[in-house]
Symmetry: C2
Subunit: 196 residues, 2 copies
DNA sequence: GTGTCAATTGACATCGTGTCAAGCAAAAGG
DNA sequence: CCTTTTGCTTGACACGATGTCAATTGACAC
């Protein structure tokens, strides 16, 4: 539970993030993680209570590494509403491939693990609030497309960005990350930005 | 692999579908299925080679039970384009809660199981083609919103309907099935139907 | 040197999947 | 009526993954 060697702990977290990203969130064993981190399987349990605990810690680790400004506070990014929206979408589109496999593995765990589920739900909530801020900024600048309320637009943008969306378009349907970004950006512009 | 008693086979399939629906697609063991079907755990393997085989068969079983006309051939349903679109969305929204948990369990299996993955991808493809047919019918009737091409609209509708979308909105975010249907229907109408 | 800390090793319990051999009850066939 | 076949049961087992535990090593500090 506690952290004997902070450096080893970081190596475990990095190994976990790497392996999950490579494997799409499935089929990663504790022994794989230990091997990649250069330690024994049992030593992982000196740093993390169990698999769920490790995965949750990994989400925070990945968060730390990422510039989260454009993602969480889109109202401060760029100038025009359209640019802000683009920056917001791009920030999430770059974050998704790193965070989603971890969330995927987290949800794959026992469905009764409330801690694991809510840790993931928190990130969904973050995204929801980011969407809200981005749309509100658009509206404040008078750039929101007519005939659409802010709550409607927020829900819709959120649905478009939804992380499992990304997984299925890329993993199951074979879309590239670029295709996904282009699709979402173009759709959002057309839907939400006045006169686009 | 072969089918000793067709009736027992059906009971297994029904039990699998029921349990997966109840559990959201996770945490369902072979022994649970056998118990629900009223047979021994080992007897399941007299009818299905393994877990993946059973799950794939269950998707076909669920398909058989469902009226698939509105879902797969939306161009024949209802009169006006808007009504057709509504019927199409409602058909999928009713199918999702039954089919998705099975697909979820399927994808949760070994990621190397190509057969399992492609069985699921097929259903994604079905949905994609259904979207295409629905949008094309809308365009043929001159009801497609101006400034939007049919391929764009198809992609967008597909993204909105995407099955994992449904799972996350309902399971993780706590939306009711009704909320989901309402959200998607309203969004699609506003986006695709001329003058809505 | 004596602790102490971090990680190692080997062993083990538990649980789920999948396999196998032996047995059993009922229906079908002569 | 007896035999065979069918469909399932029971009990046992191998395997792989998670998680736990006790004993041990190696390094660094006091």
């Amino acid at each position: 539970m506690s952290s004997p060697n902070p450096d080893t702990r970081k190596r475990i977290l990095q190994a976990t993030a790497d392996l999950l990203t490579e494997g799409g969130g499935t089929g990663v064993r504790m022994s794989d993680i230990a091997k990649r981190a250069g330690i024994s399987r049992q030593a992982v349990y000196l740093h993390f209570a169990n698999r769920a605990d490790l995965l949750i810690a990994t989400t925070f680790y990945v968060d730390e590494l990422k510039d989260s400004d454009a993602r969480l506070a889109p109202s401060r990014a760029a100038k025009t509403g359209s640019e802000r929206l683009d920056a917001f979408i791009e920030a999430w589109a770059g974050y998704l491939p790193e965070i989603y496999p971890i969330g995927r593995a987290l949800i794959d765990m026992s469905p009764t693990d409330e801690e694991a589920r809510s840790a993931w739900a928190q990130r969904m909530q973050d995204m929801r609030e980011g969407c809200e801020a981005a749309i509100n900024a658009l509206k404040r600048d008078g750039d929101l497309a007519p005939g659409m309320t802010a709550p409607q637009a927020t829900d819709l943008l959120w649905t478009l960005l939804l992380l499992p969306n990304w997984e299925h378009l890329t993993q199951v349907c074979g879309w590239s990350q670029k295709q996904y970004l282009k699709h979402i950006t173009a759709t959002a512009r057309r839907l939400f930005v006045m006169g686009a």
